[in-house]
Structures are given as C-alpha cells and as structure tokens.
Amino acid sequence: MKIIYSSYISNPKNVCFDGEDNDEQVLLILRKHFITNLGWILIALFIFNLPEFAFFILKLNGVTDFSFLPLSYRFVLSFFWVLVSFGFFFSEFLTWYFSVYIVSTKRVVDIDFSGFMHRRFSEALLTNIQDLTHQISGVSQIVFHYGTLFIQTAGEKQEIEFESIPSPAKAQDFISDLTRGVKKDLGTGNFGDEKSVEGKTQ
C-alpha cells in the first residue's frame, strides 16, 4: 500500500521494471516528493469546482433561475465535467506515480513520464558511477527536506538526476555504499576516497 503514496521506498515488494535481469533486485524506489504535487492538486480542485464558481458569478449578475437549461443538457454537462476533472487528476497522478528513480543491485534507472505523452528511460550501471552530489535549495526544499541528487557516470550519458527526491543525503549515502560494495566485489573500487576526488578535480 505504501507504494501508492510514498516517495522513498526501501526494499519494495512485487515491483519490477522494463529490462530487469532475473538475478537483479530492486533495492530502492524514489519519486518526486509528494509536496511537488501541490500545484496540480490545487488546479484539479479548481477545475472540479469551476461550475460552482460559474453559478456563483451568474447569481451575482442576477441569474438565479437555471430552468432555461434543459434537463438533458444539465445532466450531460455535469457528467462531462466530472469526467474531465477525473481525467486531469488521473493523468497528473499517473505521471507522478510512474516517474520513478530505481536503485537495483546492478544499476540506477531514471524513468521519466513528463507531460504524459513523453517517456524517457535512462540507466547507468553501478560500476559506472563516479561521483554523487546532492543539492537542497529554496524555501520549499529546506522546509520539506527534499532536493536533487546528481549522479555522474562514465557512460555515454554523463549525468543522471534524481529530481526533488525526499532525503537526498540518505539516498546519496545508500547509493554510495552500494557502489563501493559492487566495485570492491569487482576489484576496481576506490569510489569516494580522496584519490578519485582529486583525479576528478584536476
């Protein structure tokens, strides 16, 4: 049940993604902080209540009797408006729900469904992660404790961004530990030590 509203889910159950290997396991799922939905939730509430506002304005202009509108039109318009309101709410919620950042035992994945008619799927192997940086800026991010995690990789796509995720420092620490462990297992690991930092800045 937690998966429907939470933005930080550790060890999720019954979850898999496109291209997941059989020996791979999802360890962490992140989404944009729920507070980032406030804008469209307010718009959805406004759209749902728009007929009430319209009637209120008509009443202010002296129109108090709506019997001129045939009953069939009233029914069809009301039904249509409920569908439009639901459609807006549903599409915005789905965009938020399915736009996820996944950390698995092998890679990090960024699935982005911005604008509802657009899909972007980016991934980077844990062994390709070179640097992690998080940023919290602005009043809203400080108050609700969310921010952006930048994942620098050695792959073709240089950077993956986990935007507006809750507790970015915690997520950074988790991915950092995981990456270090994977690199150690492969015998290539010096992730996060001074040498790798110096090598990058020079």
Binding site: I3, I4, P12, N14, V15, C16, F17, D18, V63, S67, F68, L69, P70, S72, Y73, F75, V76, L77, F79, F80, L83, V84, F86, G87, F90, S91, L94, Y97, F98, V100, I102, I111, F113, F116, M117, R119, F121
Partner: protein, 76 residues
Amino acid sequence: MITLADLFSNEIFLLAAKVSLLALQLMYAVFAFIVLRQVGLMHRTFQTSFGILFKSLALIHFLGVVFLILLSVFLL
C-alpha cells in the same frame, strides 16, 4: 433583449450547442484513449501491484466518455 431562456428555446441554437458539445466530447475521447494506451506503456515500464487498478480506471474512464457520447447523440 434576448434572454438565456429565449436562446435555449431556439432550435438552431440547440443544434449548434449539441454539435459543439459532441465535438468537445470526441476530442476528449481521443485524450481518454491516449490515457488508456499510456497507462499500458507505463505499466510495462514499471510494474507494481496497483498496475491493474490503474488500467481498469483508465478503461472505465474511456468507456465513460464513449457512453457519454452515445448519450449525447440520443438525449440532446
């Protein structure tokens, strides 16, 4: 002065209102169909236990619009 009551008793105005409403509903039906297809794509990309629920809601939403169009054709 023409009142709203006069407008809605005019046959031509009612026909124009019906055609406009049907055109809006047809456009919305296209959107509802895109939502239905997109939910399928979303569910294939990231599968959770709520995927079936979302697909069902998208289907009900689309069927609701189709029902409304049929209702408008016969009722208005």
